[in-house]
Symmetry: C4
Subunit: 282 residues, 4 copies
């Protein structure tokens, strides 16, 4: 096994993992996608007690298969990538590691299944779903619009929290214990539930004054929901306009006719639309 | 009955069914519209047990009348249309067929009323409402805006699902069985209920930490509802502007050069931008 | 009492009622406004049983005072307006009439208080609130934007109803009686409650499949709420732009310099910015 | 201690409090920020009975520490500011005073802890959160957009209230006592809960007619939520465009004519549009 051949094999593997253009690369992507989704579904089903009771063995074996597949993928990524350390410490590196670890740790502490910490650890597997983020390439515009309006949205959310705390305290004073407004934190929780128009109804005002204030909170929430929407909409409108202007600007170029100085000819124009002079004659 | 006359009769029927310009065609449309709506109301009322008990016979007879009307309409459409096979396999062809079949099948299996499959079959009649889609001509702009932002909205919804699964799992861990977070799927369901600001309240957090996380989920949902709205708004703004610009774009007229048939000259153009031919020479 | 003087008195009364510029006219408006709001509050409080029991006499007398005030206003409007018949049959004429009638009818049928029809009649007084619509002058832009997007919004709402009926029927089939989905109308009601993100929670799915479909309904509702918002936003943007363009267009006028044909001078320009020629010299 | 030195000390203190550029000023800001947030958290925790029972002494001492810190801050601000009276009567002056007072008053009426008025007074401390508003500098655009659409939003909210009162009364008539629609105010409360898509579910229609009307209310609410969003979006779009146009408006430069000091000449202007003076002559 000479050196060049080994490099060749590494490069080929790299292409399979990181490129989606070749047939094998596409196949790898599809298998990975299915494995991730299957894994998520299994983790979710495992938490359903009646299902777990019936198919415990099936779940256990599937989990092992998936863990081994992800382990192979993780090792393959480390081997084939140019800067392994950078990958390992990257977001996806950590996500890929977290996708494999839980099952291995569960062997070590195999007997002590009931531990809450272990239960939490096993649920870490749900973060495998973040592997899917690799496939979310088209989200650029959304991310850009959100990033551009980041400051405004934070200010807005901050204002929402201040309003919630003040109104929550007032409601705590007005409604009191009977209606479920047991403490200020609970009242603030209620206020957020109401302002965001979620409205569970587990806590709801019963006194007329409380209902009156609640009405104000709701109408306020109804009005201020317009703010983040307005921010993001404006950001989008200006972004989509910017990208369109680039497209539109090409047809009408800024060359001027040497004969009559008319400007803004169409891009494919060969003669001046004003004087008929051949635009290619300089 | 000679051949030309028969063709004549078919064409006249075709016009009645497919054109709304003539008086008979308009009458046909109105009768069809009323029949569809009446049919939907009857199917809905049939499911109300107390109503069904009282007016069972009336419902049964009405259903027969409607089924026969729709059968006649279906046959008439097949006869008069130029390419019957294309119609039968089209969206409206299938909808029209589904509108008639259930009652006929229910005779065959008349005795076995209790079958769940039959019950489902009878409810297929609700899809008659899709016949109304024929009258939704003006929905072009909406459909266009939605189609244009299809990819962005899918990416967004995909992100919502990822967030819901992760947050749902965390809440499952934090809240546990007592509060109704019985399993991860249930917790994810709760998370979607909360993120979309629906908020049934059938499941709601009771621990302080759970309420704190729920508050974050709500504010998050409140914030990210801005994203699809922003996307569609921007799409609409640019579309309504595009259609307005076309009106404004009289500068680019539709005269074509008699020499080289190039089109879309600037309105004040006197010479063709493509071949230099004087545009005023005809 | 000669004719001219009487006309004078009528015109003065007309100004008091219909113009808000004079001091008496303003006073009339304020008194009317207070009377309307007081009347609404009294009708609302009357429906609160414990309040009605305590202050029945006060409510009755206040109601008489208000009824008489509104009667005087109604008669005064008829007398002073130029075309009384047109006023009487107009929207505000009917509203003003409805504001006075209920109390008078209640004397005639005074003994039979318990009649449901009478109760409904007495509640007609709540429509006095529509008198306030007179003061909503600034709502023009909103009304214009809504009217301009009327067709699109109707199409949208129509589509929402079709979706609700289909999804409601499916949920009726999936969930059945136990979860509260008693009939198709109830299921459709649930579907509208969910799609609009209201989410009472009086009916909510309990089976896993039902919760899964419900999740789809919610995410759908979350996504399509963007549509009406987008429509109205786009309408607003284009309207506010139109009104701004009018403002902006004045400064740069279309006069051209007679000396150098330069155009788009600032509106207050007195000399050409290109050649220094006095623009007022023609 | 001579006069100039004292002034020096005052100015230095002023810079620490009002400027965030120096290191000490930044430190002061951070300490103040932490104290405010800690104070809010303590007030909230104090309302949780189980927490208060356990840590009553800790809460009491912390409260004293915080009150003294805020008192020092308040006095320092009065001393160092140029116009103390203006500060004291300003929004922040009142907020700063309210942040310190409650604890002092509670000593005076120390024995009568149970008084509702005192309880309310103690909760006044929650308004300390308004001190945070000082750090919300970036909220200008939001405030501007909201202020610009103030009239439109008020009209809109006014219309929402009119609709709520009318629909609430109708629902009161249709549903009656059993379903929770006990009085018109309660029905109006329900209507606001529904229109704003909050939907607690503490009151919800049970009769078919009531559910039908409720469905209309919801779809209405779903439709009209578009209005404030549209208003704010349009405002934002036009604002963000305005700020962009200023950047783009280089054509109008800021050179002023040396002859007549007219400003905002077009960028390619060679002569002043006001006096005809050659702009290149300096």
């Amino acid at each position: 096994m000479d050196k060049p051949k080994k490099r060749h094999w590494k490069i080929r593997l790299h292409d399979v993992i990181y490129e989606a253009d070749t047939r094998v690369g596409k196949l790898f992507d599809i298998i990975l996608l299915i494995t991730i989704i299957a894994s998520i579904i299994l983790v979710m089903l495992e938490s359903v007690k009646s299902f777990d009771a019936k198919y415990h063995n099936f779940l256990n074996i599937s989990e092992w298969v998936i863990t081994i597949l992800f382990t192979i993928e993780y090792i393959a990524r480390i081997i084939t990538v140019k800067k392994p350390y950078k990958y390992i410490t990257s977001f996806y590196g950590i996500v890929d590691l977290l996708a494999t670890i839980p099952k291995y740790i569960s062997i070590i502490f195999g007997g002590v299944h009931a531990l809450a910490a272990l239960r939490a650890l096993r649920l870490l597997r749900i973060f495998r779903i973040l592997k899917l983020a690799r496939y979310l390439g088209a989200s650029n515009t959304i991310a850009k619009a959100l990033r551009a309006s980041r400051v405004k949205i934070s200010v807005f959310l901050f204002a929402v929290i201040i309003i919630s705390i003040i109104l929550g305290t007032i409601m705590y004073l007005v409604e009191g214990d009977e209606a479920g407004f047991k403490s200020i934190p609970t009242s603030v929780y209620w206020c957020i539930v109401t302002l965001t128009t979620v409205g569970y109804g587990d806590i709801s005002p019963v006194t007329p004054l409380g209902q009156f204030i609640a009405s104000i909170v709701m109408i306020l929430g109804y009005g201020i929901i317009a703010v983040p929407t307005g921010i993001v909409s404006a950001e989008y409108v200006s972004q989509s306009k910017a990208s369109k202007e680039q497209d539109k600007d090409i047809p009408l170029n800024s060359k001027s006719c040497v004969n009559c100085i008319a400007e803004k000819h169409k891009d494919d124009a060969e003669f001046c639309y004003k004087c008929g002079h051949n635009l290619h004659d300089e």
